[in-house]
C-alpha cells in the first residue's frame, strides 16, 4: 500500500514542517552517531595498530581462509538441509500415518528448539573438542534445524500448486509417486526457490555459532585475531561487514529468483515452531 493514497499531497506549510523534522532528526541522529564515534575514538579504538592486522597479508590470509571455511560449511549445511527438508516435507504430506506422524514430530521439534542448544548438545555427543567435532556439530545442527524449516517450505510450496494439476495428472493415469515427481515437485521447486535462498541467509548467519564450539570459520579465526591483537571491536566490525555483504548478495539473489521463477506466488510457513527470521521477512509472509 503506498502511503500517498492515505493523505493529500502536502502543501507549502506541511512541506516546511517536514523540512523542520528532517533538520531536527538529522541533528539528533548525527549527534548520537558522533557521540559513539567520539567516545570510541577517545578510547583509542581507531588507533592504527588495532586496524593494521586487516591489511597485513598473514592475518588477511587467515581471515580469508576462515571465510572460505564458513562458506563451505554453509554450502554443506544448506545442501544437506534441502535433501532432509524434501524428505521430511514429502513425508508430512504422505497418505500413510506411519510416515506422516514421525515427520511431523521431527519437524515441529527441531523448529521449536534453539539451534545453539542443538549444536552444543551435538558437540557434547561427539566429544567436546575443537576442530572436526565442532565443525560437524554445527553442520548437523544446521541440517536438523534448516531441514525442518525447508520441510515446511516444501509442504507450503506443494500446497501452492493448483489442485487441478494433480487431478489432471491422476486423470492421465500417473501413479502417486509419478504425480509428485513429474508434476508437483518441478513446479513447487520454482515457488520454493526464493524462500530456500532466504533460509540460506539464516543458515549463513548461524554458521557464526561455530565460535562457541571452536569450529573452523570466520568467527573462530576472528577470535584468534582479537586474542592476539586485543582489537575486538575492529575485528567484530570487519566480521559484521563481511556477513552483511554476503547476505545482501543472497537477498538480491532471492529477489531475482522471486521475480524470475515464482512471480506473485509466495511461500508461507505456518507458525507453531517458528520459522527462521530471515525467510519470514524475505518471503513477505503473504498472510492469508
Amino acid at each position: 500500500m503506498s502511503a500517498s493514497v492515505l493523505f493529500d499531497a502536502p502543501g507549502p506549510r506541511t512541506r516546511a514542517r517536514h523540512r523542520l523534522y528532517a533538520v531536527i532528526s538529522t541533528v539528533v541522529l548525527a549527534a548520537i552517531l558522533g557521540l559513539i564515534l567520539w567516545k570510541l575514538w577517545q578510547a583509542g579504538q581507531f588507533a592504527l595498530d588495532l586496524w593494521e592486522p586487516f591489511v597485513t597479508p598473514r592475518i588477511l590470509n587467515a581471515l580469508l581462509w576462515g571465510l572460505g571455511q564458513t562458506l563451505m560449511m554453509a554450502v554443506v549445511a544448506v545442501a544437506g538441509a534441502i535433501v532432509l527438508g524434501f524428505i521430511l516435507g514429502i513425508g508430512k504430506l504422505s497418505d500413510h500415518a506411519v510416515l506422516r506422524w514421525p515427520a511431523w514430530v521431527v519437524v515441529e521439534f527441531f523448529r521449536a528448539v534453539p539451534l545453539f542448544m542443538l549444536i552444543l548438545a551435538t558437540w557434547y555427543l561427539l566429544g567436546p573438542q575443537p576442530g572436526g567435532n565442532g565443525y560437524w556439530a554445527v553442520v548437523i545442527g544446521l541440517w536438523l534445524y534448516n531441514g525442518s524449516v525447508i520441510a515446511e517450505i516444501t509442504r507450503a510450496g506443494i500446497h501452492a500448486i493448483p489442485k487441478g494439476q494433480s487431478e489432471a495428472a491422476y486423470a492421465l493415469g500417473l501413479r502417486k509417486s509419478a504425480v509428485m515427481k513429474l508434476v508437483l515437485l518441478p513446479q513447487a521447486v520454482k515457488i520454493m526457490l526464493p524462500a530456500i535462498i532466504s533460509q540460506s541467509i539464516v543458515a549463513l548467519k548461524d554458521t557464526s555459532l561455530g565460535y562457541a564450539v571452536l569450529a573452523p570459520g570466520l568467527t573462530f579465526i576472528g577470535k584468534q585475531v582479537f586474542g592476539e591483537f586485543r582489537n575486538i571491536i575492529p575485528t567484530a566490525l570487519v566480521m559484521a561487514a563481511t556477513y552483511i555483504v554476503l547476505n545482501l548478495l543472497l537477498t538480491w539473489l532471492a529477489t531475482w529468483a522471486q521475480k524470475r521463477y515464482a512471480g506473485e506466488k509466495k511461500v508461507e510457513v505456518g507458525l507453531v515452531g517458528a520459522v527462521g527470521l530471515g525467510s519470514q521477512a524475505e518471503a513477505g509472509a503473504a498472510l492469508r
Partner: protein, 214 residues
C-alpha cells in the same frame, strides 16, 4: 531422569532467566521495532533512510557478532551494567529490525482498495488509519510478530556464551558433569524451550481468532 530431578531448582532458575530475557527483550523489541517501522513509512526522508539502513545492517549481521560488539562497545561508552542488560540490548537491537519488517509487511498486506475506499468516503488520514487500516493490520501482523518472538526465544540461547545462566548455559554445565545422561538433559531443556514457544504460539492464535472479522 535423576539428573533433571536433582537439579530441578537450578533448572527452574535458568528457565526463569530465559523467560525474563524473552519478556524484557520482547517488549523492548516491539517498542523499538514500532518506532523503526514508523520511521520507515513516515514522510521524513532522513528518517526513512535511517530506518532502512538500521534494518539492513542489523538484520544481516549474526546475533553473535552484535553481542560481541555490544559487550565491548558499551564499556568504552562508559556504560557498565553487568551481564543481563547488555544481553538484552543486543537481543533488542537484533530482534527489533525483524519486528519492523513484520509490521511493515502487515500494513502492506492490506489491499490498496481499502485505503482508497476510506479516502473516497472523505475520511482524513487519521480517520482512515484509525478506523480502516490499522484495525486490519493488527490482525495481519499477529502471525509474523509471533514468529519473530519465537525466534527471539530461541536466540536467547546465545546469552549462554556471554555469561548469563540461562537454560542453554545450565544444559552445558549439566552435560559437562553428567555426560552419560546426555539425552535426558537435552530433551529436558528442550521441553522447557518448547513450553515458551508453544505459549507464544497459543497466545498468537487466540488473538488472531479474537480479532478475526466474522
Amino acid at each position: 531422569m535423576d539428573v533433571l530431578v536433582d537439579n530441578a531448582d537450578s533448572l527452574l532458575a535458568a528457565f526463569w532467566m530465559t523467560l525474563r530475557l524473552v519478556i524484557v527483550a520482547g517488549l523492548l523489541s516491539l517498542a523499538w521495532g514500532t518506532v523503526l517501522a514508523a520511521m520507515r513509512v513516515g514522510p521524513v526522508r532522513v528518517l526513512n533512510l535511517a530506518g532502512t539502513t538500521y534494518v539492513t545492517l542489523f538484520r544481516n549481521t549474526p546475533l553473535l557478532v552484535i553481542l560481541l560488539l555490544i559487550f565491548n562497545v558499551l564499556p568504552k561508552l562508559g556504560i557498565t551494567w553487568g551481564y543481563f542488560w547488555p544481553n538484552v540490548i543486543a537481543l533488542t537491537l537484533y530482534t527489533s529490525s525483524f519486528v519492523c519488517e513484520a509490521l511493515r509487511a502487515g500494513v502492506n498486506s492490506i489491499p490498496l482498495g481499502q485505503a482508497e475506499a476510506a479516502r473516497s468516503l472523505g475520511m482524513t488520514f487519521g480517520q482512515s488509519m484509525r478506523q480502516v487500516i490499522l484495525p486490519q493490520s493488527f490482525r495481519a501482523v499477529v502471525p509474523p510478530v509471533a514468529s519473530v518472538l519465537i525466534a527471539l526465544t530461541k536466540n536467547t540461547s546465545l546469552v549462554a556464551i556471554f555469561g548469563l545462566a540461562d537454560l542453554t548455559a545450565r544444559m552445558k554445565d549439566l552435560l559437562t558433569d553428567h555426560a552419560s545422561d546426555l539425552l535426558w538433559i537435552f530433551f529436558g531443556v528442550a521441553f522447557a524451550y518448547i513450553v515458551i514457544v508453544e505459549a507464544i504460539s497459543v497466545i498468537a492464535n487466540t488473538i488472531e481468532r479474537r480479532w478475526r472479522v466474522a
